[in-house]
């Protein structure tokens, strides 16, 4: 499983079409940037369905930024 920054931005774009994902910094916390928990859940579902990235509840806090998801995905593929 390889996930790119672009994959994550596309998942956000798809889950929250009104959210300005293009200006979202890689290390910016999703919730601080204006996403809510429902959007976040759908972003992670899209990453699971499209890229096979499974994020159990105990790791969800780590996956609250683009960088966090990339780091988590990298660990899973080690």
């Amino acid at each position: 499983m390889t996930i790119t920054e672009s994959d994550i931005r596309n998942a956000i774009r798809s889950a929250a079409p009104l959210f300005d994902v293009d200006t979202l910094a890689d290390d910016k916390d999703f919730f601080a940037a204006g996403l809510d928990s429902l959007d976040h859940a759908m972003v992670l579902l899209r990453l699971l369905e499209r890229h096979g990235l499974d994020v159990p509840d105990e790791h969800i806090a780590q996956c609250s930024s683009i960088l966090g998801i990339l780091e988590y995905a990298a660990k899973q593929s080690e």
């Binding site: 429902l38 976040h40 579902l45």
Partner: protein, 307 residues
């Protein structure tokens, strides 16, 4: 063939405004309006029991002349918040309060948001098999009994209500093929904890709805030989507005799915019959109903209007 004759509903008059208390939960007005969708939730008075809600709904049904207590062969209550401690079963208490006939079978069904659709199959099938002509199917699951009002994940969602559906051998609506399922591995996602209060893993429930409810709707259409555009109305359990919108998007329904529960909340197993009883149009001929939640279970079917 057994089907639906009439539906009556009871929504308590009491309301709690979610907009007025949004700040307390750290929620914005936009989140309440556009994501949760519930502007207010219905609350029964504390002293009003589950059976009282059922009886109030039944009185409306009987007053309409659509059904009569003396011809009732069975009375079934779908609830996980029964009267007292659950023994005797709430349907027996309803039987007493409504003075239903002695030769009337009563039992309760323990299911949540999928309960109404599953009970249509269970009770309808039982009536068909055993020659029963008229039955009363109640839904009443007042979550105010188990809500922790400081819990944002649940307090803003759930409302109290009850419904009664007359099941009859002279129906106005018949059922099609059903689709059922359970994700027992996720059963802890909606549960009552040791403190007696409701706890919910919102992410797990939303993901379950997006995947399993959508899949069930598509299978139900296929099993009934229908395409999406042949359904006049989708009556999908309103777990939240966002949940309904996600399902509509995944089904690629251009007009979306209407959200009717803004002024009373997620009423668990009552949500679908409540919408059927109040929001259908005369032009609706084929209606898909999909319930999903506690268990985590789903149940879906198609209703066809008898012409």
């Amino acid at each position: 063939m057994i089907g639906i004759g009439a539906i009556a509903v009871e929504i308590p008059a009491g309301r709690i405004s979610n907009l007025a208390r949004a700040d307390r939960y750290g929620a914005s007005e936009a989140f309440i309006r556009d994501k949760l969708g519930f502007l207010e939730v219905a609350r029964k008075p504390p002293e009003q029991e589950t059976s009282d809600l059922c009886v109030a709904a039944a009185r409306r049904l009987f007053d309409s002349g659509m059904a009569a207590p003396e011809t009732t062969d069975c009375a079934v209550v779908v609830t996980q918040n029964p009267d007292g401690h659950g023994l005797p079963h709430t349907s027996a208490i309803v039987h007493r309060k409504l003075r239903l006939p002695a030769r009337c079978l009563t039992f309760d069904i323990s299911l949540g948001c999928s309960g109404y659709v599953a009970a249509l199959a269970a009770v309808g099938g039982m009536m068909q098999a055993h020659g029963m002509r008229r039955g009363l199917l109640f839904t009443a699951d007042p979550y105010s009994k188990i809500l922790n009002e400081s819990d944002r994940d649940t307090a803003l969602l759930f409302g109290d209500a009850a419904t009664v559906t007359e099941l009859t051998d002279a129906p106005r609506w018949t059922f099609g093929a059903f689709d059922f399922g359970t994700r027992g591995d996720l059963c802890d996602a909606i549960r009552v904890g040791p403190d007696g209060k409701l706890a919910m893993n919102g992410r797990a429930v939303l993901t379950f709805a997006a995947v399993s409810a959508t899949g069930s709707i598509l299978r139900t259409l296929e099993n009934n030989g229908l395409a999406l555009d042949q359904v006049d109305r989708f009556v999908v359990h309103p777990g939240s507005k966002y949940m309904v919108d996600v399902i509509a998007e995944r089904l690629q329904l251009p007009g979306g799915i209407p959200f009717y529960a803004r002024h009373y909340g997620n009423t668990v197993s009552s949500s679908i019959p409540l919408m059927l009883g109040t929001d259908l149009a005369e032009s609706d001929r084929i209606v898909l109903i999909a319930g999903f939640g506690v268990g985590l279970c789903w149940a879906t079917t198609v209703l066809r209007r008898v012409t």
